[in-house]
Symmetry: C2
Subunit: 243 residues, 2 copies
């Protein structure tokens, strides 16, 4: 990744050094949004929403944290004795993870997880909407297959998403329609992150309802074990291998 | 102004209704920034920085508040018995001013101030960096001439700016150079405001050092009475007519 493309890492780097910064997300319909990052990327367990705290109870064994950001979940688990590796495609994010004390942190895209040996992990974390990193239903199925291989038989995927239909924002509803017309899932947002002059490449981020998630899991060997709801459209899925 | 261009008004409207929202400023070199608006546009006197509180002591008589936003200064002064009119080129901002109780609020661009009768005002407010609304040194001189006409002989302009040279951000220093090369003042930023899918037209916003401000005032009949400094690059100029 060229340094000028690492907008996500730059916002994390800035927040790490100066407790300042912001995250702008630009969607491909011209919709701009300011998220609650990078502040929440550095939040401590006590500040997390209840459904995220609850999700931690399901973590076991060796952990792969996909899209680990500034490492908030990885660091929490490492402190509690788990063997955890955080991966992120942002070099600066991984640099910050290491500076914050994460022992295993690696610049790596979700597309490269097939590089891990079989049966490497007992838990895969995809929190902070990172189910979205699957990008599309097709890519989700491919990556779920890879995740199946690199995990143990009793492994869990703990993945967060946001139900895109729980909105009354007309701009979002129009975007769903725009997506349907071009043959994409309504919540398959094409976005890029901006920070100062830094801007990432466009990428697909997949937001799904619970039913859509179930559909995507079909035929992958994975199934929903349970959902952990939040007070809003966010939810976490605990996903297990078929018996 | 077409409704979809009123990004500034939309962010104010959203904050007025939901205490949520943000303001993204895009500069024409691709630099994106999230400002502290709209929250500060609704701030009360107690929350203002000291130099802004201090500036209120100079206000007298009939007041014109140029670029009044959500009306924080106008409303403060109205409550204290001043005869104040707030103008803003954003229809939604003016709507919010009225809903908040500002008696005189008018959709009007700074370019239209010549419409006021001669000697209408004793104080002209251009706070919150609104010296920037002059746009360029040339336009500043033209507008200062109009302000001369519509104000009384002892009138004051109370205008805020930010010294653009008080920065060590390489992106800003590069932008100064970019501006010099195209024959603009270093702090003459060309920007547009974004909020969700709303985006304003590009406009010039002029940030000047104290010396540059003095130079701009030369030959206009206006002169610096005093500067009110802040703890950072912001400052307020109290500007009077030559004796």
């Amino acid at each position: 990744m060229k340094p000028e493309k690492d907008a996500y890492g730059q916002e994390i780097w800035t927040y790490f050094n100066r407790r300042a910064g912001f995250e702008i997300v630009e969607r491909d319909d011209g919709y701009f949004h300011v998220t609650s990052g990078p502040r929440i990327y550095f939040s401590e367990f006590e500040e997390w929403p209840d459904h995220e705290k609850k999700a931690m109870e399901f973590v076991k064994g060796r952990v792969l944290d996909i899209g680990c950001g500034a490492g908030r979940h990885s660091l929490y688990l490492q402190k509690r004795g788990f063997d955890v590796i955080g991966i992120d495609n942002s070099p600066l994010a991984i640099k910050v993870c290491k500076l914050r004390g994460l022992k295993k942190a690696k610049v790596m895209s979700i597309d490269e997880i097939g590089e891990f040996p079989p049966h490497s992990f007992d838990t895969v974390l995809m929190l902070g909407n990172n189910f979205g990193l699957f990008g599309s239903p097709k890519k989700a199925k491919e990556l779920l297959e890879k995740l199946y291989e690199i995990t143990t038989s009793k492994a869990l995927i703990i993945a967060e998403s946001r139900d895109p239909y729980k909105t009354d924002n007309p701009a979002h509803l129009e975007y769903h329609e725009f997506n349907r017309k071009r043959g994409r899932m309504p919540g398959q947002v094409r976005i890029r992150v901006r920070f100062e002059k830094y801007v990432t490449e466009w990428f697909d981020y997949l937001l799904v309802s619970k039913d859509e998630m179930k559909e995507i899991l079909e035929g992958t060997g994975w199934e929903i074990k349970r959902f952990i709801d939040s007070s809003n459209a966010q939810y976490i899925a605990v996903i297990q291998k078929h018996a």
